[in-house]
Symmetry: C2
C-alpha cells in the first residue's frame, strides 16, 4: 500500500497523488476529487519516514526533563493546544534530568527528521544548545539564555517570582528567611533555580536582611536527610522559600511529622503551584508560572520559526504568587 497503489487505483500518476497530498500547485478540482476518493477507499496513509527524506514530517519533538515532574503536564497541554490546530503531530522524549541523556534525545529527534524542537527545562549548556539549534528550529522553555541568537526562549520571570515571595514573607512579619536551592554542580546560571536564587538574594538585600541559601541535591536524588537536618538544626529559619514544590511538599510533610507547626513555627513557600500544593490538606503557598501559557507561547514561537523567522525571540512571563495556609494561617 504505497502512493503507487493509490495512483493506479485513481488512474493518475504518482506525482499527481503527491501533489494532492501536499496541496501543491497545479491540481484541478476533478483530479483532487478522484485522488481523495481513492485515498479514502483504500485507507492509504503516507509514510512519514519516506516523506521526511525530502520534505517536512509535520512532527515536532518535545523534550521533557523528567516525566514525574508535576509542572510539565501544563506546559505540554499548552503546546498541544497550539500544534493541534496547526496540523502538527508531537513526539515526546523524556530525558532523565541528565544532560547526556538529553543530548542523545535531541540527536534522535534530528535523526527522525522532526520539523522543530521544544526543549522544556533542559539542562544542556547554551553552547551545546546553540550547536543543535543551528540544525533544527528550536525553542527553549525554562532555561534563561536571553542573548542566544539561534533559538527562542520562553521563561517565567524567575528573578521577579523569588522577589515576590520574599516580599510576601516580609510583609507577613518574617525576617529570618532562608532559601532552599538546587545544588547545581554544573553551575548552569541559565537554569531556573540560580535565577530564583538571585532574585531571593536581591530581595533580601533590598529589605536589609541577610540571605541564607541552603543547597539540596537535585530532585532525582534522595534528599530527605538534608531536609530533616535543616528542620532539626538549632538555628532553624522561621521561613523557607523552596526553589520548587518538589522540595517544598516533602519539607512541609516532614515538618508536620516532626511536630513543627506550619506556618506558626515555620512558613513555607514553594514554586510551580503544582496540583499537590493546591490540595487542602497540603495547602502550600506557591508561585504559579502559568505553564499552559508558556507552552502555548513556545509552540507559537516554534511555528513562526519553522515558517522562516530567523531573528531570535525571548519572552519573559510575570509569575503570580498563590497564597495558601503554609504562608498565612487561617
Amino acid at each position: 500500500m504505497t502512493i503507487r497503489t493509490v495512483a493506479a487505483d485513481a488512474g493518475v500518476s504518482v506525482a499527481a497523488v503527491s501533489k494532492v497530498l501536499r496541496n501543491a500547485y497545479g491540481v484541478s478540482d476533478g483530479l483532487r476529487a478522484k485522488v481523495e476518493a481513492s485515498i479514502e477507499k483504500l485507507g492509504y496513509r503516507p509514510s512519514v519516514a519516506a516523506r521526511g527524506m525530502r520534505g517536512q514530517t509535520f512532527t515536532l519533538g518535545v523534550l521533557l526533563v523528567e516525566i514525574a515532574n508535576p509542572f510539565l503536564p501544563s506546559v505540554y497541554h499548552g503546546i498541544e493546544s497550539v500544534t493541534d490546530e496547526a496540523g502538527y503531530k508531537i513526539m515526546v522524549g523524556v530525558g532523565a534530568a541528565r544532560a547526556g541523556r538529553e543530548a542523545q534525545l535531541i540527536e534522535q529527534m534530528i535523526d527522525n527528521r522532526m520539523d522543530g524542537l521544544i526543549l522544556v527545562a533542559s539542562q544542556i549548556s547554551g553552547d551545546t544548545l546553540d550547536r543543535y539549534a543551528r540544525q533544527i528550529p528550536t525553542v527553549v522553555v525554562g532555561h534563561h539564555e536571553p542573548t542566544a541568537s539561534s533559538f527562542d526562549t520562553i521563561n517565567s520571570d524567575d528573578f521577579e517570582g523569588a522577589r515576590m515571595v520574599v516580599r510576601a514573607l516580609y510583609e507577613a512579619g518574617h525576617r529570618d528567611i532562608a532559601m532552599l536551592a538546587m545544588d547545581d554542580k554544573h553551575d548552569h546560571a541559565a537554569d531556573v533555580s540560580p535565577q530564583r536564587e538571585k532574585g531571593y538574594v536581591a530581595a533580601m538585600a533590598a529589605a536589609g536582611l541577610t540571605p541564607r541559601v541552603i543547597r539540596v541535591p537535585p530532585s532525582n536524588q534522595p534528599r530527605e536527610a538534608e531536609l530533616r537536618a535543616l528542620l532539626a538544626a538549632p538555628d532553624r529559619p522561621r521561613a523557607v522559600f523552596c526553589w520548587s514544590d518538589l522540595d517544598a511538599v516533602p519539607l512541609l510533610n516532614l515538618a508536620h511529622q516532626m511536630g513543627i507547626r506550619v506556618p506558626e513555627d515555620l512558613a513555607i513557600v514553594g514554586y510551580d503551584d503544582s496540583p499537590v500544593a493546591a490540595l487542602p490538606l497540603i495547602s502550600l503557598a506557591s508561585v504559579d508560572q502559568d505553564g499552559r501559557r508558556m507552552g502555548r507561547m513556545a509552540a507559537q514561537a516554534l511555528l513562526s520559526r519553522i515558517g522562516g523567522r530567523a531573528v531570535a525571540e525571548h519572552r519573559l512571563i510575570t509569575p503570580r504568587l498563590v497564597v495558601r495556609g503554609s504562608l498565612q494561617g487561617g
Copy 2:
C-alpha cells in the same frame, strides 16, 4: 553528511559502511577500523528515516493515556530500564484519554516506522487493537484482553486487588463499604476500573454484604460535585474504595474540609499507590501495582515479540495493599 561522505572519507564503498553500521556479515577488522575512524572523525549519524525505509529503526513507541496521571512515570521508567540496555530508543505519545486521539497516535507511530508499540492504559477496544497489532508488534499494559492472540498483555490482577481491599476493610470492622468506580460510557469491560468493580462485587458477596457502586465521571472531567454529594448524603457509607488515587485523594481532602474524620467516620482506600498517597499529610491507603515491574515486563515481552515470537503472552501480577492512616488510624 551522508553514508556516502563517510564512504568517500574512508576510501571504501557505501555498502561497506552500511555493513559496519549494521554489524553485518563479511567485514574484516581492518575495514571496520577504517570506517569507524571516519564515522568518529566526521561525527556522522545515520538517518533514522532513511533507515526505516528498509530496515529497523530501533525506536519503540510508548503510548500513555494522560501525562498528568501519577501512576505512569513508574511504568515508563520500568520500560526504559529494559529498552535502554537493548539499545532501543523510545518515543512517547500522549493521548488525552480519548480513544480517537489514541488511534491517531498509534497510526502516527506506525507511520514513523517504529519497531514496536507499548500501549499503557489504552482505552481502545479489543477489535481495534487487534487490527493495529497485526501491523506492528504490540504489548498492552493495563487493559485486560486475556484472549487476544495478536498482542501481549501485562496487567495487575485488578480483580484480586479489589478483593484485598474489601477484605482489609472487613477485617477493620467495616460493613458499609461502597466503591467509587469510573463511569465508563463506552462500557469497556477490558479497562481496569470495571475489573476492580467485579472484584469488589465478588468480595462483598463472599462476605455476605450488599455491594454499592457509585459512578463518577472520568478523571479528565471535573467531578468535585459528585464527590461532595456523596459525602453530604444522609446514607454516606462508612468506607469507600476508590478505583484510583485520582479520585481517592480529592475525596480525602474534601472529607477533611467538610469536617469528616478519616478513618473514624470514613475509611478511604485508593488504587495505584501514587507518590501523593504516601505523603504523611495525606496518608492514603492504596493498592500498589508495581508499575515499574509492569513496565519492565512489557518491554521484555515487546523485545521478544520483535525477536520473532508469534504466540501471545498474557501476564497477571499480584498487587499489594499498602495500609496507611486513611484505613487504619494510628
